[in-house]
Protein backbone atom coordinates (compact mmCIF):
# COMPACT_ATOMS: atom_id res chain seq x y z
CA UNK A 1 0.00 0.00 0.00
CA UNK A 2 1.13 3.54 -0.64
CA UNK A 3 2.48 5.38 2.37
CA UNK A 4 1.21 8.92 2.83
CA UNK A 5 4.45 10.60 3.81
CA UNK A 6 6.80 8.72 1.51
CA UNK A 7 7.57 10.21 -1.88
CA UNK A 8 9.25 8.41 -4.76
CA UNK A 9 12.44 10.21 -5.74
CA UNK A 10 14.14 7.93 -8.21
CA UNK A 11 13.04 6.10 -11.36
CA UNK A 12 12.67 2.70 -9.78
CA UNK A 13 10.60 4.02 -6.88
CA UNK A 14 8.34 5.89 -9.32
CA UNK A 15 7.75 2.70 -11.31
CA UNK A 16 6.97 0.87 -8.11
CA UNK A 17 4.50 3.56 -7.14
CA UNK A 18 2.75 3.25 -10.49
CA UNK A 19 2.52 -0.52 -10.06
CA UNK A 20 1.09 0.00 -6.60
CA UNK A 21 -1.61 2.23 -8.06
CA UNK A 22 -2.45 -0.49 -10.55
CA UNK A 23 -2.34 -3.03 -7.72
CA UNK A 24 0.23 -5.05 -9.63
CA UNK A 25 2.59 -4.99 -6.69
CA UNK A 26 1.44 -5.89 -3.21
CA UNK A 27 2.71 -7.26 0.06
CA UNK A 28 2.75 -11.01 0.46
CA UNK A 29 0.66 -10.73 3.58
CA UNK A 30 -1.97 -8.58 1.81
CA UNK A 31 -4.70 -10.99 0.88
CA UNK A 32 -4.77 -14.72 0.57
CA UNK A 33 -1.60 -15.29 -1.39
CA UNK A 34 0.12 -18.60 -1.68
CA UNK A 35 3.61 -18.83 -3.01
CA UNK A 36 6.07 -21.60 -3.50
CA UNK A 37 8.33 -19.97 -0.99
CA UNK A 38 8.41 -21.59 2.41
CA UNK A 39 8.20 -19.59 5.59
CA UNK A 40 11.11 -17.64 6.83
CA UNK A 41 12.34 -14.53 8.49
CA UNK A 42 11.14 -12.37 5.64
CA UNK A 43 7.60 -13.65 5.78
CA UNK A 44 6.71 -14.13 9.41
CA UNK A 45 9.60 -12.47 11.14
CA UNK A 46 10.10 -8.74 11.48
CA UNK A 47 12.98 -8.00 9.17
CA UNK A 48 13.89 -5.01 11.29
CA UNK A 49 14.52 -7.45 14.09
CA UNK A 50 16.85 -9.39 11.86
CA UNK A 51 19.19 -6.43 11.51
CA UNK A 52 19.98 -7.12 15.13
CA UNK A 53 22.11 -4.12 16.15
CA UNK A 54 24.93 -5.59 18.17
CA UNK A 55 27.52 -3.42 19.82
CA UNK A 56 30.22 -5.24 17.89
CA UNK A 57 30.67 -7.03 14.56
CA UNK A 58 28.96 -8.74 12.88
CA UNK A 59 26.44 -5.94 12.98
CA UNK A 60 23.65 -7.82 11.24
CA UNK A 61 22.60 -11.39 10.69
CA UNK A 62 22.68 -13.21 7.38
CA UNK A 63 26.07 -11.85 6.43
CA UNK A 64 28.74 -14.25 5.41
CA UNK A 65 30.63 -14.04 8.66
CA UNK A 66 27.52 -14.46 10.81
CA UNK A 67 26.59 -17.69 12.47
CA UNK A 68 23.10 -17.79 11.00
CA UNK A 69 24.19 -17.44 7.38
CA UNK A 70 23.72 -21.10 6.48
CA UNK A 71 20.24 -21.41 7.93
CA UNK A 72 19.18 -18.19 6.23
CA UNK A 73 20.04 -19.74 2.88
CA UNK A 74 16.95 -21.89 2.56
CA UNK A 75 13.76 -20.93 4.34
CA UNK A 76 14.57 -17.30 4.85
CA UNK A 77 15.53 -16.78 1.27
CA UNK A 78 17.71 -13.76 1.59
CA UNK A 79 18.56 -13.76 -2.12
CA UNK A 80 21.08 -10.97 -2.04
CA UNK A 81 23.11 -12.40 0.78
CA UNK A 82 22.79 -16.14 0.78
CA UNK A 83 22.79 -19.04 -1.67
CA UNK A 84 19.44 -20.53 -2.55
CA UNK A 85 20.00 -24.03 -1.25
CA UNK A 86 16.48 -25.19 -2.04
CA UNK A 87 16.63 -24.95 -5.82
CA UNK A 88 19.85 -23.72 -7.34
CA UNK A 89 22.61 -24.59 -4.90
CA UNK A 90 21.35 -27.62 -2.97
CA UNK A 91 24.78 -28.75 -1.80
CA UNK A 92 26.38 -25.41 -1.16
CA UNK A 93 27.00 -26.45 2.46
CA UNK A 94 29.74 -28.77 1.22
CA UNK A 95 31.84 -25.72 0.44
CA UNK A 96 31.58 -24.44 3.91
CA UNK A 97 30.49 -26.49 6.92
CA UNK A 98 31.21 -23.86 9.56
CA UNK A 99 30.64 -20.39 8.20
CA UNK A 100 32.70 -18.46 10.73
CA UNK A 101 35.79 -20.48 9.91
CA UNK A 102 35.24 -21.40 6.27
CA UNK A 103 33.36 -18.50 4.69
CA UNK A 104 36.26 -17.79 2.32
CA UNK A 105 35.46 -21.11 0.63
CA UNK A 106 32.00 -19.90 -0.37
CA UNK A 107 31.64 -19.95 -4.10
CA UNK A 108 27.97 -20.38 -4.78
CA UNK A 109 27.51 -17.68 -7.39
CA UNK A 110 29.85 -19.13 -10.00
CA UNK A 111 29.59 -22.89 -10.23
CA UNK A 112 33.01 -24.45 -10.68
Amino acid sequence: MKKKNIKAVNKRAKILEEKLEEKKVFGMADGDIITSMPIGCTTIFDTGWETNPRPETPMGNCVSSARDFTSCSGPCWWPAQTPDNITNFPDFQNQCRAIEKDWRNLNFVIKR
Binding site: I34, S36, I39, I44, D46, D68, S71, I99, E100
Partner: protein, 342 residues
Protein backbone atom coordinates in the same frame (compact mmCIF):
# COMPACT_ATOMS: atom_id res chain seq x y z
CA UNK B 1 27.25 -73.22 43.92
CA UNK B 2 29.43 -71.89 46.74
CA UNK B 3 28.97 -68.43 48.17
CA UNK B 4 32.16 -67.17 46.49
CA UNK B 5 30.96 -68.43 43.10
CA UNK B 6 27.53 -66.82 43.59
CA UNK B 7 29.23 -63.57 44.60
CA UNK B 8 31.43 -63.75 41.49
CA UNK B 9 28.39 -64.35 39.32
CA UNK B 10 26.58 -61.37 40.82
CA UNK B 11 29.65 -59.18 40.26
CA UNK B 12 29.97 -60.45 36.68
CA UNK B 13 26.30 -59.77 35.94
CA UNK B 14 26.55 -56.31 37.48
CA UNK B 15 29.57 -55.61 35.29
CA UNK B 16 27.85 -56.85 32.15
CA UNK B 17 24.50 -55.13 32.66
CA UNK B 18 26.00 -52.11 34.37
CA UNK B 19 28.30 -51.57 31.44
CA UNK B 20 25.58 -52.27 28.91
CA UNK B 21 23.14 -49.80 30.43
CA UNK B 22 25.88 -47.32 31.29
CA UNK B 23 26.88 -47.12 27.64
CA UNK B 24 23.66 -45.31 26.80
CA UNK B 25 22.39 -44.16 30.19
CA UNK B 26 21.93 -40.50 30.92
CA UNK B 27 21.26 -37.31 29.01
CA UNK B 28 22.49 -36.76 25.47
CA UNK B 29 22.17 -33.72 23.22
CA UNK B 30 21.40 -34.53 19.59
CA UNK B 31 22.68 -31.76 17.33
CA UNK B 32 22.22 -31.91 13.56
CA UNK B 33 25.05 -29.95 11.95
CA UNK B 34 26.09 -29.49 8.35
CA UNK B 35 26.42 -32.99 6.85
CA UNK B 36 26.21 -34.86 10.17
CA UNK B 37 24.32 -35.55 13.38
CA UNK B 38 26.50 -35.14 16.44
CA UNK B 39 25.69 -36.55 19.87
CA UNK B 40 26.96 -34.93 23.07
CA UNK B 41 27.18 -36.84 26.35
CA UNK B 42 26.02 -34.46 29.10
CA UNK B 43 28.12 -36.35 31.65
CA UNK B 44 31.43 -35.60 29.96
CA UNK B 45 30.35 -32.67 27.75
CA UNK B 46 32.06 -34.20 24.75
CA UNK B 47 30.88 -35.34 21.34
CA UNK B 48 30.60 -39.11 21.65
CA UNK B 49 29.22 -39.95 18.21
CA UNK B 50 29.00 -38.43 14.74
CA UNK B 51 26.60 -39.84 12.15
CA UNK B 52 27.54 -38.54 8.70
CA UNK B 53 25.24 -37.76 5.76
CA UNK B 54 25.21 -35.14 3.05
CA UNK B 55 22.58 -32.52 3.89
CA UNK B 56 21.70 -29.48 5.89
CA UNK B 57 19.05 -30.09 8.53
CA UNK B 58 16.60 -27.30 9.26
CA UNK B 59 14.35 -28.92 11.83
CA UNK B 60 14.24 -32.11 13.85
CA UNK B 61 12.08 -33.93 16.36
CA UNK B 62 12.57 -36.92 18.65
CA UNK B 63 9.84 -39.55 18.81
CA UNK B 64 7.73 -39.43 22.01
CA UNK B 65 9.61 -42.46 23.42
CA UNK B 66 13.00 -41.04 22.39
CA UNK B 67 13.87 -44.11 20.33
CA UNK B 68 13.96 -42.29 17.01
CA UNK B 69 15.28 -38.90 15.92
CA UNK B 70 13.79 -37.39 12.76
CA UNK B 71 15.60 -34.64 10.87
CA UNK B 72 14.13 -32.62 8.00
CA UNK B 73 16.31 -31.26 5.22
CA UNK B 74 13.26 -29.69 3.47
CA UNK B 75 13.11 -32.34 0.75
CA UNK B 76 13.79 -35.44 2.87
CA UNK B 77 13.47 -36.70 6.42
CA UNK B 78 16.40 -38.61 7.91
CA UNK B 79 15.57 -41.22 10.57
CA UNK B 80 18.08 -42.15 13.26
CA UNK B 81 17.77 -45.01 15.74
CA UNK B 82 18.93 -43.54 19.05
CA UNK B 83 19.82 -46.88 20.66
CA UNK B 84 22.24 -47.98 17.96
CA UNK B 85 23.00 -44.41 16.85
CA UNK B 86 22.64 -45.38 13.22
CA UNK B 87 20.94 -43.69 10.32
CA UNK B 88 18.23 -46.26 9.58
CA UNK B 89 16.14 -44.62 6.86
CA UNK B 90 15.79 -41.63 4.56
CA UNK B 91 12.24 -40.64 3.58
CA UNK B 92 12.37 -38.64 0.36
CA UNK B 93 9.46 -36.35 -0.50
CA UNK B 94 10.77 -34.27 -3.37
CA UNK B 95 11.37 -35.08 -7.00
CA UNK B 96 12.22 -33.10 -10.11
CA UNK B 97 8.55 -32.67 -11.00
CA UNK B 98 7.12 -32.42 -7.52
CA UNK B 99 9.17 -30.24 -5.24
CA UNK B 100 8.26 -30.54 -1.59
CA UNK B 101 9.55 -28.43 1.25
CA UNK B 102 8.92 -29.67 4.77
CA UNK B 103 9.28 -27.39 7.70
CA UNK B 104 7.03 -28.17 10.67
CA UNK B 105 7.30 -31.80 11.73
CA UNK B 106 6.01 -33.88 14.65
CA UNK B 107 5.99 -37.64 15.22
CA UNK B 108 2.62 -39.05 16.32
CA UNK B 109 2.07 -40.24 19.90
CA UNK B 110 2.37 -43.89 18.84
CA UNK B 111 5.53 -43.14 16.86
CA UNK B 112 4.06 -44.66 13.70
CA UNK B 113 3.39 -41.50 11.72
CA UNK B 114 4.95 -38.16 10.98
CA UNK B 115 2.87 -35.00 10.71
CA UNK B 116 4.51 -32.77 8.13
CA UNK B 117 3.76 -29.18 7.24
CA UNK B 118 4.58 -29.20 3.54
CA UNK B 119 4.71 -26.84 0.57
CA UNK B 120 4.43 -28.59 -2.75
CA UNK B 121 5.18 -27.19 -6.20
CA UNK B 122 4.43 -29.37 -9.19
CA UNK B 123 5.61 -28.91 -12.74
CA UNK B 124 5.29 -30.76 -15.99
CA UNK B 125 8.19 -31.91 -18.08
CA UNK B 126 9.27 -29.20 -20.52
CA UNK B 127 6.38 -26.93 -19.52
CA UNK B 128 7.59 -23.68 -17.99
CA UNK B 129 4.68 -23.37 -15.60
CA UNK B 130 4.60 -24.16 -11.92
CA UNK B 131 1.54 -25.39 -10.11
CA UNK B 132 1.76 -24.23 -6.53
CA UNK B 133 -0.48 -26.37 -4.34
CA UNK B 134 -2.09 -24.99 -1.20
CA UNK B 135 -0.04 -25.66 1.95
CA UNK B 136 -0.66 -29.15 3.28
CA UNK B 137 -0.44 -31.01 6.52
CA UNK B 138 0.60 -34.47 5.39
CA UNK B 139 0.22 -37.58 7.52
CA UNK B 140 3.09 -39.87 6.59
CA UNK B 141 2.95 -43.52 7.59
CA UNK B 142 6.51 -44.53 8.49
CA UNK B 143 5.91 -48.25 8.00
CA UNK B 144 4.04 -47.98 4.69
CA UNK B 145 6.39 -45.20 3.62
CA UNK B 146 3.65 -43.12 2.10
CA UNK B 147 1.40 -40.16 2.78
CA UNK B 148 -1.89 -41.64 3.99
CA UNK B 149 -3.85 -38.44 4.52
CA UNK B 150 -3.44 -34.75 3.93
CA UNK B 151 -5.26 -31.56 4.89
CA UNK B 152 -5.18 -28.08 3.47
CA UNK B 153 -3.89 -25.75 6.15
CA UNK B 154 -3.10 -22.02 6.46
CA UNK B 155 0.14 -20.86 4.86
CA UNK B 156 3.42 -20.92 6.73
CA UNK B 157 2.64 -23.32 9.53
CA UNK B 158 6.22 -23.50 10.69
CA UNK B 159 5.72 -25.58 13.82
CA UNK B 160 3.51 -28.62 14.41
CA UNK B 161 2.67 -29.85 17.91
CA UNK B 162 0.95 -33.05 18.98
CA UNK B 163 -1.24 -33.12 22.08
CA UNK B 164 -0.79 -35.84 24.68
CA UNK B 165 -4.44 -35.82 25.77
CA UNK B 166 -5.84 -35.65 22.25
CA UNK B 167 -4.11 -37.74 19.56
CA UNK B 168 -6.74 -36.63 17.04
CA UNK B 169 -5.69 -32.97 17.09
CA UNK B 170 -2.61 -30.98 16.19
CA UNK B 171 -1.58 -27.42 16.99
CA UNK B 172 -0.19 -25.50 14.00
CA UNK B 173 1.86 -22.36 14.64
CA UNK B 174 2.52 -19.89 11.85
CA UNK B 175 0.97 -16.59 10.91
CA UNK B 176 -1.71 -17.49 13.47
CA UNK B 177 -2.17 -20.46 15.81
CA UNK B 178 -4.73 -23.10 14.88
CA UNK B 179 -5.94 -26.43 16.18
CA UNK B 180 -6.46 -29.01 13.45
CA UNK B 181 -8.97 -31.80 13.97
CA UNK B 182 -7.43 -34.82 12.24
CA UNK B 183 -10.78 -36.59 12.03
CA UNK B 184 -12.67 -33.84 10.24
CA UNK B 185 -9.93 -31.54 8.93
CA UNK B 186 -11.61 -28.60 10.67
CA UNK B 187 -9.45 -25.73 11.85
CA UNK B 188 -10.06 -23.77 15.03
CA UNK B 189 -8.18 -20.50 15.47
CA UNK B 190 -6.66 -20.39 18.94
CA UNK B 191 -4.73 -17.13 18.67
CA UNK B 192 -4.09 -14.49 16.06
CA UNK B 193 -0.59 -13.25 15.35
CA UNK B 194 -0.88 -11.61 11.93
CA UNK B 195 -4.68 -11.64 12.19
CA UNK B 196 -5.52 -10.78 15.79
CA UNK B 197 -9.02 -10.51 17.13
CA UNK B 198 -10.48 -6.97 17.30
CA UNK B 199 -8.84 -5.05 20.11
CA UNK B 200 -5.82 -7.33 20.27
CA UNK B 201 -2.32 -6.41 19.17
CA UNK B 202 -0.59 -8.03 16.21
CA UNK B 203 2.09 -10.46 17.28
CA UNK B 204 5.26 -11.41 15.50
CA UNK B 205 6.46 -14.92 16.22
CA UNK B 206 9.07 -17.08 14.55
CA UNK B 207 7.73 -20.39 15.80
CA UNK B 208 10.27 -22.81 14.47
CA UNK B 209 11.99 -24.28 17.48
CA UNK B 210 10.41 -26.90 19.71
CA UNK B 211 13.16 -27.44 22.28
CA UNK B 212 11.10 -30.03 24.18
CA UNK B 213 12.46 -33.45 25.15
CA UNK B 214 10.67 -36.81 25.11
CA UNK B 215 8.76 -37.53 28.35
CA UNK B 216 9.24 -33.99 29.66
CA UNK B 217 6.57 -31.86 31.35
CA UNK B 218 4.87 -31.22 28.01
CA UNK B 219 4.99 -27.43 28.13
CA UNK B 220 5.88 -25.83 24.80
CA UNK B 221 6.97 -22.19 24.70
CA UNK B 222 7.80 -19.76 21.91
CA UNK B 223 8.49 -16.02 22.11
CA UNK B 224 6.41 -13.38 20.35
CA UNK B 225 6.77 -9.64 19.94
CA UNK B 226 4.23 -6.88 19.81
CA UNK B 227 5.20 -3.38 18.74
CA UNK B 228 6.50 -2.60 22.21
CA UNK B 229 6.81 -5.79 24.19
CA UNK B 230 8.07 -9.35 24.40
CA UNK B 231 5.69 -12.14 25.31
CA UNK B 232 5.43 -15.90 25.19
CA UNK B 233 2.91 -18.37 23.85
CA UNK B 234 2.80 -21.31 26.24
CA UNK B 235 0.98 -24.43 25.12
CA UNK B 236 0.36 -27.25 27.56
CA UNK B 237 0.53 -30.35 25.39
CA UNK B 238 -1.08 -32.37 28.18
CA UNK B 239 -4.31 -30.38 28.03
CA UNK B 240 -4.19 -28.34 24.81
CA UNK B 241 -4.47 -25.12 26.82
CA UNK B 242 -2.79 -22.05 25.32
CA UNK B 243 -1.84 -19.05 27.43
CA UNK B 244 0.36 -16.01 27.04
CA UNK B 245 2.88 -14.44 29.38
CA UNK B 246 4.25 -10.93 29.05
CA UNK B 247 7.98 -10.51 29.63
CA UNK B 248 9.19 -7.78 31.95
CA UNK B 249 11.88 -6.61 29.51
CA UNK B 250 12.49 -6.93 25.77
CA UNK B 251 15.27 -9.29 24.75
CA UNK B 252 16.03 -10.62 21.28
CA UNK B 253 15.07 -14.29 21.45
CA UNK B 254 14.98 -16.97 18.81
CA UNK B 255 13.71 -19.77 21.02
CA UNK B 256 13.00 -20.78 24.59
CA UNK B 257 12.25 -23.71 26.88
CA UNK B 258 10.73 -24.27 30.30
CA UNK B 259 12.84 -25.86 33.03
CA UNK B 260 11.94 -29.37 34.27
CA UNK B 261 10.61 -27.93 37.56
CA UNK B 262 8.27 -25.63 35.55
CA UNK B 263 9.52 -22.51 37.33
CA UNK B 264 11.90 -20.90 34.83
CA UNK B 265 12.04 -19.91 31.17
CA UNK B 266 15.41 -20.02 29.42
CA UNK B 267 15.65 -18.18 26.11
CA UNK B 268 18.48 -17.61 23.62
CA UNK B 269 19.67 -15.57 20.68
CA UNK B 270 22.67 -13.33 21.38
CA UNK B 271 22.23 -13.80 25.11
CA UNK B 272 21.09 -16.54 27.45
CA UNK B 273 18.15 -15.18 29.40
CA UNK B 274 16.53 -16.55 32.54
CA UNK B 275 12.92 -15.53 33.22
CA UNK B 276 10.45 -16.36 35.98
CA UNK B 277 7.67 -18.43 34.43
CA UNK B 278 5.07 -17.19 36.89
CA UNK B 279 5.68 -13.44 36.60
CA UNK B 280 7.69 -12.90 33.39
CA UNK B 281 10.31 -11.09 35.48
CA UNK B 282 13.88 -11.22 34.14
CA UNK B 283 16.08 -13.08 36.60
CA UNK B 284 19.45 -13.01 34.81
CA UNK B 285 21.04 -12.72 31.40
CA UNK B 286 24.49 -13.11 29.93
CA UNK B 287 25.86 -12.49 26.41
CA UNK B 288 26.78 -15.66 24.52
CA UNK B 289 30.51 -15.41 23.99
CA UNK B 290 30.43 -17.53 20.82
CA UNK B 291 27.74 -15.38 19.16
CA UNK B 292 24.19 -15.93 17.94
CA UNK B 293 22.53 -19.24 18.88
CA UNK B 294 19.20 -20.73 17.88
CA UNK B 295 18.35 -23.49 20.31
CA UNK B 296 18.58 -24.32 24.00
CA UNK B 297 18.38 -27.67 25.76
CA UNK B 298 18.46 -28.52 29.45
CA UNK B 299 19.53 -31.64 31.34
CA UNK B 300 16.77 -33.69 32.95
CA UNK B 301 17.87 -32.55 36.42
CA UNK B 302 17.66 -28.91 35.31
CA UNK B 303 21.27 -28.17 36.22
CA UNK B 304 22.98 -27.55 32.86
CA UNK B 305 21.97 -25.60 29.76
CA UNK B 306 23.22 -26.41 26.27
CA UNK B 307 23.06 -23.29 24.13
CA UNK B 308 23.48 -23.76 20.40
CA UNK B 309 23.95 -24.49 17.64
CA UNK B 310 23.96 -21.64 15.24
CA UNK B 311 27.65 -21.63 14.63
CA UNK B 312 29.73 -24.76 15.01
CA UNK B 313 29.72 -25.01 18.79
CA UNK B 314 27.60 -25.71 21.83
CA UNK B 315 28.05 -23.58 24.96
CA UNK B 316 27.33 -25.23 28.29
CA UNK B 317 26.03 -23.04 31.12
CA UNK B 318 25.20 -23.57 34.75
CA UNK B 319 21.41 -23.21 34.69
CA UNK B 320 21.32 -21.55 38.09
CA UNK B 321 24.11 -18.99 37.80
CA UNK B 322 24.35 -18.77 33.96
CA UNK B 323 28.10 -19.26 34.38
CA UNK B 324 29.74 -20.57 31.19
CA UNK B 325 31.11 -24.02 32.00
CA UNK B 326 32.60 -25.04 28.68
CA UNK B 327 32.28 -24.72 24.90
CA UNK B 328 32.00 -27.93 22.87
CA UNK B 329 33.25 -27.61 19.28
CA UNK B 330 31.06 -29.12 16.56
CA UNK B 331 31.83 -30.12 12.98
CA UNK B 332 29.47 -27.61 11.35
CA UNK B 333 26.71 -25.05 11.70
CA UNK B 334 23.22 -26.06 12.71
CA UNK B 335 19.75 -24.88 13.67
CA UNK B 336 18.26 -27.24 16.26
CA UNK B 337 19.23 -29.47 19.17
CA UNK B 338 17.31 -31.79 21.47
CA UNK B 339 18.04 -33.55 24.73
CA UNK B 340 17.17 -37.23 24.70
CA UNK B 341 17.49 -39.25 27.90
CA UNK B 342 18.15 -42.99 27.68
Amino acid sequence: MGSISRFSLVIALCCVFGFASGALAGDFIYVPVTNALQIIDCETDTVVDTIPFNDYIVTAAPSPDGKRYYMSAFHSVYEVDTASRKLVDVHRFSSELSKTDIFGMAPSADGKKLYLSAWIVKKKQNVPRLNVLPPHLAVYDLEKRKVVKSYTIPAWASCVLTLRNDPDSLILLGLDIHKLDLKTGELEKLAGCLNPEPGEEQKNSLSIWNNSSPRDHGLFITPYYTIDSLGYFIIDRNTGELRTLKGEEIFFEYSALISPDKKTIYAVMDEVIKIDLKTGKSLASTPIRQGTCYAVSITSDGQKLYVGPGGADMSVYDANSLELLTVIPLDGDGVVAHRITH
